[in-house]
Symmetry: C2
Subunit: 226 residues, 2 copies
Amino acid sequence: MASNPPAHLKPRKKPRQARATVTVDAIFEATIQVLLADGPQRLTTTRVAERAGVSVGTMYQYFPHKHALFYALNEHYLDVLAQKVESACQAQHGASINRMIDVLVTTYWNAKTERPEVTRALYRSVVELDNEPLIKEFARRLDAATAAMFASASDAVFADLPTVNLTLLTSIFGTVRGVFERNLPDPEASAVHRHLVLMCIAYLEAVKLPPRRAGGYDPAPRASSH
Amino acid sequence: MASNPPAHLKPRKKPRQARATVTVDAIFEATIQVLLADGPQRLTTTRVAERAGVSVGTMYQYFPHKHALFYALNEHYLDVLAQKVESACQAQHGASINRMIDVLVTTYWNAKTERPEVTRALYRSVVELDNEPLIKEFARRLDAATAAMFASASDAVFADLPTVNLTLLTSIFGTVRGVFERNLPDPEASAVHRHLVLMCIAYLEAVKLPPRRAGGYDPAPRASSH
DNA sequence: CCTCAAACTGAAGCATCCTTCATATCTTGA
DNA sequence: TCAAGATATGAAGGATGCTTCAGTTTGAGG
């Protein structure tokens, strides 16, 4: 369901027997474990294999090289994340922009916060080679999902939805990332979460086109026009 | 002028003769060059030394190991960046919040955009070991600078300035980073820049305390109260 | 001009790490 | 039960990188 991996880092083969499936799952899990325990620098084929309880050779039956493993891991993570956001957006079609923003931010936030260590580890690992296609595809999917949602808002229409949408996503993703990067403790992190919602709502209020009656912000605020 | 580097990655010695200064500068420049040309993965002591036109041994006279070099590079970069923002903030004391936001965002944005390749390379390199203290110190400095600025605003007072300030900085930094990460082409990047300013202004409008007279947003918008 | 500390050199030691492949074991299906 | 394909093993080859140090060159001060 995700994108098409560049040829050079496609998995070598898919598991056909039950034990092989177990093995591959163990390898993924081990990769995360090693990432958590030792950091991206010490993510070593040997270490992953050891932790997964298999031999190095086994890994190379499924992944042509280390980067392919890494790529597959991130692909899976981003795919799950994108699905969560997509279905959350879907569910809010026709709602108010306030609710949309709240759901969007909170869904993304919770998904990232569910396993903070994993999130942090992956953020730090995204540096590795060639996952730019992954990020692009992820961004494209969410762009589409949120744009469709906002276009369906019951209480607002936007002149330049693409830009508004892009700005929103960029700032939400960036803010969440910043919270992880600075390792903000919980009272502050929650406060930022709340204020991020406020910020986005205020932004949408400011850029939405005035509804049919009752001017939005500039001309004659709440007197019937003229 | 920056923080105190952890002992294990302090420079070994400072240049005492002119040629040594030249050497150290060349090493820094070469580090950036290699980062740009080959990426953080291929940043190798040998490669840096070669590009700098010195031998590996020379590098080790000044830096106890690779990470120390890296650390010093980032330290310098963040220091310059922090200074720019600090002085920009200083200059806006007493101004309106709109102007403050505009100056803050634009200053940061321009500083990052000045040499986009370098920015991108450094963003990608910040993964390396132990520069968390650097980030913390950088955040602390800017936090202080912008908080002081906003506290002096001529047209607004905030109930919870620390949170407002933290949210602003986190989202601004994060958004800019996101623009680089997604490698947004210029029309879109500029649009996000503009909208980021709008967003921050709308946010501050929404959270500022109502001025002495003429209620802010909730009660009786522009009729003399009561 | 001379001396000594500062600066520089770069081959080599040491430590990892990635990846392969010949071999062994397991599972399935007939 | 047995053959054949699937899966697993792990020692070893090959590559690269970090760091040291014994020795050389350079520059500053007397």
